[in-house]
């Protein structure tokens, strides 16, 4: 699909609207549902049943999943699984798997180097794409030597599992189309930016909820949102999110376009957006008062998600250390 900038932006807005209403009705969409909405195949080439668009569209879904605090295999299977397959040299094995992802028949997840202890959505995965400098080994859960252990997670909306694949158990090694270290770098950037999008969406939801609440909650005979301390806290939330949005947009564009400095944009977006989201969700809890601390209110769901996101695929300090290697 070849589209101009303005058209692409319009398509993304439509995608966002559709995603928002779908997730409002079903905050835990199955892999089949994700596929029938066309999301798992967004970046899969059209001839394999996908939409052939870019990471910029994938990023829209990530953001909306965060906004809805949705439970899904999207990060594991579409962002990282399909993302990894797309970095491989074309082959029948690769193409079959990509087509199956687009159709919702397969949910392969990527096991990035050093990340096997906490792999998103691995427990429900049909395939494990073990990423190593030499290429990708495709392992199937249940086979000899392959173990996948679902982990308990404080953030109940996230699914993490410990994966181990011992030597001989895997299938053939599929080679990367490009330089392996660059590919692995790109996959890490993808992961980081996808999580940043999730945090941005989650934090925007928290600001929106908080603003709506303080407009109606009354104390001392007036809406608490008319108290300056509350107003200024909300203003700070908005400012932090506006900055996050700029950084995330720049990172999404860079990753989607394969820019050489995409890792810089990714590190900035990940470190800022994920830290800001924790602050915003924490402030949301504070400004809701006692209600905000209840299980029922759901604010804790966002706070926990934001907290986990902040640590996933590189802490803010870790990303800043990478940036600092340029000074």
């Amino acid at each position: 699909m070849t589209v101009t900038g303005a058209e692409a932006a319009e398509v993304r807005e439509e995608l966002r609207d559709v995603a928002r209403s779908l997730l409002a009705g079903d905050p835990a969409p199955s892999a089949k549902r994700l596929a029938s909405a066309g999301w798992t195949g967004l970046e899969v080439p059209e001839e394999l049943g996908g939409a052939g668009v870019t990471f910029a569209e994938t990023a829209v879904i990530c953001e909306e999943l965060g906004r809805a605090a949705a439970v899904s295999s999207f990060l594991g299977a579409a962002v990282l699984g399909a993302g990894t397959l797309l970095e491989l040299s074309p082959s029948a094995a690769r193409d079959d798997l990509l087509a199956a992802v687009a159709a919702g028949d397969a949910t392969p997840v990527a096991v990035l180097p050093g990340e096997a202890g906490f792999v998103p959505s691995a427990a429900s995965a049909t395939h494990l794409l073990v990423v190593e400098p030499g290429g990708v080994t495709v392992a199937v859960p249940g086979d000899a030597g392959v173990s996948v252990e679902a982990l308990p997670v404080i953030d109940e909306t996230s699914r993490l599992a410990r994966v181990s694949v011992s030597g001989a158990s895997g299938g053939p090694v599929l080679p990367f189309a490009g330089d392996p270290s660059a590919v692995i770098g790109r996959l890490r950037d993808r992961a980081a930016v996808a999580v940043a999008c999730d945090s941005l969406g989650a934090a925007e939801a928290m600001l929106e909820t908080t603003v709506a609440y303080v407009k109606t909650r009354e104390q001392f005979g007036r809406a608490v949102g008319s108290f300056q301390a509350v107003q200024h806290a909300c203003a700070d939330m908005l400012v932090a999110l506006r900055v996050s949005r700029e950084l995330v947009s720049a990172a999404v564009t860079a990753v989607a376009g394969g820019a050489p400095d995409a890792w810089v944009r990714a590190a900035m977006a990940k470190s800022h957006a994920c830290a800001a989201a924790v602050d915003v969700a924490g402030q949301a809890m504070q400004l809701h008062g006692g209600i905000g601390y209840t299980w029922e209110s759901g604010v804790h769901v966002y706070l926990k998600r934001a907290l986990l996101n902040r640590s996933l695929f590189g802490s803010p300090a870790g990303h800043r250390q990478r940036l600092a290697t340029r000074y």
């Binding site: 603003v211 303080v214 407009k215 007036r222 809406a223 949102g225 008319s226 108290f227 300056q228 509350v230 107003q231 200024h232 909300c234 203003a235 700070d236 908005l238 400012v239 506006r242 900055v243 996050s244 949005r245 700029e246 950084l247 947009s249 720049a250 590190a267 900035m268 470190s271 800022h272 300090a317 990303h319 800043r320 250390q321 940036l323 600092a324 000074y327």
Partner: protein, 385 residues
């Protein structure tokens, strides 16, 4: 090469030829007159390149596209060129006011004169009217073909060098606060106008008190309708914010961040991970700020309180960065008693830069006022008591 890339190269070449390499040293410790002379020279240089007023309409000598202005500011910042300080009010506020509310005659009288170096100041604030500007008490009462102004203005930046002043004064003392104010163009040479510099916290005398005692303002120097001054001021105050902020963000991103990294390197702190963590955090925030400014200028993210978001974020980031500069340079940083005039707010003399950062958190609506605007206009929260 695209046209824009060619344009960037031409600005870069011009900067290499025209920015005096030693201007910082020459501008350190100068007198007010030395500063003003240098500013006029630099303004004329920019003017002959066609870049003194890039944001003005083409018919008055501007007409650069937004993309070209972005490039211009970014290259000037990268070349660490002097800033236009003296002409700031003239080319931004005065011009915006003349273009929005001036008569053809007023525009013809002043816009070309500004290009020739006419200096303006802004006489809005008073001892009793700061954040609550509408409570101002200076009066200008009609007397035949003129208005007679009496009162006191405070904090007028650059007034000691100014030829003209944008003046808000009460023309109908009986009307409700915002209804009785008019907007005037005041010739600073008018008898009854007395300017007294006030020394600021950095030690400079850039802002002034202006005393008005029976100063006659000809009626043709009223701008906009009588008693509509508040509306005119509201309309034009934020008019140039976007590009001004873009310039400042570029400066913070180029020279500002470079000085900060250099200070850390000189202090041998670049292998301290706490220091590099802070630096990378600032770099990230600056990138976010630049993005905000670009979106605002391009109009792609126009929220009702965008100008406030940018002003608040810039000023507090500047304050945190300069504070960090102070901690990095430590005691030795305190022995420099002057920073170069004509520099930005991040000259690398960190203790003075840090003190000077309140020049951004206080004027033009304090940070507290900005947060209230963001909450009420940006987020729609109910008005405070």
């Amino acid at each position: 090469m695209t046209d824009l890339e060619e344009y960037r190269q031409s600005v870069r070449r011009w900067c290499a030829d025209h920015v005096p390499p030693d201007w910082r040293a020459r501008q350190t410790g100068v007198t007010g007159a030395g500063f003003a002379q240098f500013q006029q020279w630099w303004f004329a240089e920019l003017r002959s390149a066609g870049w003194a007023v890039p944001h003005w309409p083409a018919e008055w000598g501007g007409g650069l596209s937004v993309a070209e202005q972005e490039i211009l500011y970014s290259e000037l910042a990268a070349a660490d060129a002097p800033r236009l300080v003296l002409q700031f009010v003239a080319i931004h506020h005065a011009a915006a006011t003349l273009l929005a509310a001036g008569t053809p005659e007023q525009r013809r009288r002043h816009l070309p004169a500004i290009l020739d170096g006419e200096v303006w100041c802004q006489g809005f604030s008073e001892p009793g009217a700061g954040s609550d500007l509408a409570s101002l008490r200076t009066t200008a009462l009609r007397d035949g073909g003129a208005y007679i102004a009496d009162g006191q203005k405070l904090w007028a930046s650059g007034a000691a060098h100014a030829d003209w002043c944008l003046l808000l004064a009460r023309t109908d003392p009986a009307a409700p606060k915002r209804k009785g104010i008019s907007y005037f163009l005041l010739d600073m040479k008018t008898p009854g106008v007395d300017v007294r510099p006030v020394r600021n916290a950095v030690g400079e005398s850039h802002f002034c008190e202006i005393f008005l005692a029976g100063a006659r303002i000809p009626a043709e120097n009223l701008i906009g309708p009588e008693n509509a001054g508040w509306q005119v001021a509201q309309q034009t105050l934020g008019a140039e914010r976007g590009l001004t902020m873009l310039e400042l963000a570029e400066r913070l991103g180029h020279a500002g961040f470079r000085w900060l990294v250099a200070s850390c390197r000189e202090a041998g702190l670049l292998d301290d991970s706490r220091v590099t963590d802070t630096l990378a955090g600032f770099e990230t925030e600056i990138e976010g700020l630049r993005g905000l400014c670009r979106s605002q200028v391009a109009g792609t993210s126009a929220g009702p309180a965008d100008a406030s978001v940018v002003k608040l974020y810039y000023s507090e980031l500047l304050q945190r960065m300069t504070d960090f500069g102070v901690t990095v340079t430590g005691v030795p940083g305190f022995t420099a008693l002057a920073k170069p005039a004509s520099s930005g707010w991040e000259s690398g003399i960190w203790p003075l830069d840090f003190i000077g950062s309140w020049e951004w958190t206080i004027p033009g609506g304090t940070s507290e006022i900005q947060r209230t605007i963001i909450a009420e206009r940006g987020l729609g929260l109910p008005r405070g008591a």
